[in-house]
Subunit: 344 residues, 2 copies
Amino acid sequence: MIPSIEWIDETNTVKMIDQTVLPHNLNFLEFRDYREVANSIKIMNIRGAPAIGVAAAMGFCLAALEFQYMDYKTFRSYMKQASDTMRSTRPTAVNLFWAINRMQGIIDTNSKQNPKKIAQLMIEEAKLMWKEDIDTNHAIGKHGAQILENGDTVLTHCNAGSLATVQYGTALAPVRWAIEEQGKNIQVIADETRPRLQGARLTAFELQYDKIPVKVQSDNCAGLMMMLGKVDKVIVGADRIVRDAVFNKIGTYMVALAAKRHNIPFYVAAPESTLSMNETRKDVTIEQRDGKEVSNVLGKVEIIPDGVEVINYAFDITPFDLISGIITEHGIFQHRELLKKYKK
Amino acid sequence: MIPSIEWIDETNTVKMIDQTVLPHNLNFLEFRDYREVANSIKIMNIRGAPAIGVAAAMGFCLAALEFQYMDYKTFRSYMKQASDTMRSTRPTAVNLFWAINRMQGIIDTNSKQNPKKIAQLMIEEAKLMWKEDIDTNHAIGKHGAQILENGDTVLTHCNAGSLATVQYGTALAPVRWAIEEQGKNIQVIADETRPRLQGARLTAFELQYDKIPVKVQSDNCAGLMMMLGKVDKVIVGADRIVRDAVFNKIGTYMVALAAKRHNIPFYVAAPESTLSMNETRKDVTIEQRDGKEVSNVLGKVEIIPDGVEVINYAFDITPFDLISGIITEHGIFQHRELLKKYKK
């Protein structure tokens, strides 16, 4: 699979796949202005918690290059503005804030350096985060593959694959590892994932691209498929994991309820950067997006009468009693282990 | 609301709203050939268990008119063919079979009459069924309105409204009665209901048409909305009610699981003709429809990469432990009451 995002050294450019036009067009966008990167996160040219973390970091580097000829104090205040712009793009995925904070650390700890040097250090850090993301996902894959048996059918919701990360994916990493490294026979069922259809468009695209067997169903189908015994495991990604719940794409909670009913293991795969264990669900804002995402499918077909109001929460909340385990780059953790490992 | 279907005496025509082009076009179809009516059921110009029962009965009348100049024996054998065509349109909704059986009764008990007379008796019967459907729905509304309190928000899945019946609806009947006859303040949340989007297109259309407050959400949103305390009751329709479960539009089961989790009353509203209490869930075929319904939204936008297989069950199975009661024209029944009332 092609990386979802890259830093091009020669031209100081952020290059990303335009995920809004997949699966029928594989187009690349190139940005040299951080405001464009912020907008690309907002309108979801790039999405997926780990991927938008890296995108925000790289966008922040573009800001640093723009302001690098200022004195440190002015540079710092312009970078604050750029950071606010980045932070305001998507409120739920915690990796975005984690990435910006990590980059901000470079600015704060190098106050004796000139901004030109700081900009270079930031670019190195963003490229390191890029590489770490791939390594992390391989580790998630290796740990997660333990739960998969030869012949398993894995249901996933939304896209927490290669496209949601730099490469390789989180929820899809165990599937990739089980197939590619262990030679297991694994199939995937992708929920289409309304309203933005990341499952139908992106999960189907990337698995087909890598010749991993995949079928798509409407989100409504998950309960019946479990009742019919056609799902062995569920693995989803996460946008934020707090002490008492997992925030992930809207609809995840209903999948988890159905999995519980049928005693089907339900796992969440995410890097440590998605953990926010100082928070509980009450601390998190759930993004509500434009109703047009629902009423106008992919901007192409109106499905709702004019004048009817739309409810469009982008994420929901899955409590830990429905979750069999959290797969991170460090292993598979039960809720109590997670609470112990990440004390307040 | 306009009736979804009518028999026009002057021209012996079946007239129906074309539900495939709602909500943006209100077009009517007129048929004088039973094969066209069968096709209209198959491709869902008309849908909803009670409505397709009446459509099948009226289509069967067109067949009777076509064959009325034959002798009784030949007439009967041609009508058998017409009945097979009708029965093969949709396998899950039991009202279809109930309606055809009732019409077949007219043929069987009038073997001494000439087919011309039988055709007239059949038309009278179909018109009676049409009228009974409206009366039944009013009775469902009156009984069902008991469960609604002033200020309630009712979640419904798919369309079991006026458009799914001759008029007035089943699941939406209690809402209509509570508002129109009791002056209660009731709001509706309509699940969009992928893949055919009957909630977004039809439920939203008919409630807006009748000035009943309605909002639309993606199916994925139901669980979160319940968790947030924004749903007071759930009412859905049914395509077939058997001894141990309710068959209804795909996704109903997941809504029921979420309602159970949050102790939200979950009711099924359906006429007695939807009951099939000699069967259990094992006896019922769940219709699997063309994957294009999922992959190509309303025939207008492709959302899945070419070559990826689609799973498309049209209905799912909701066991009775998730159901607070069944609302019929005779009252509201618990599972045990239903089993007692309809002994094998």
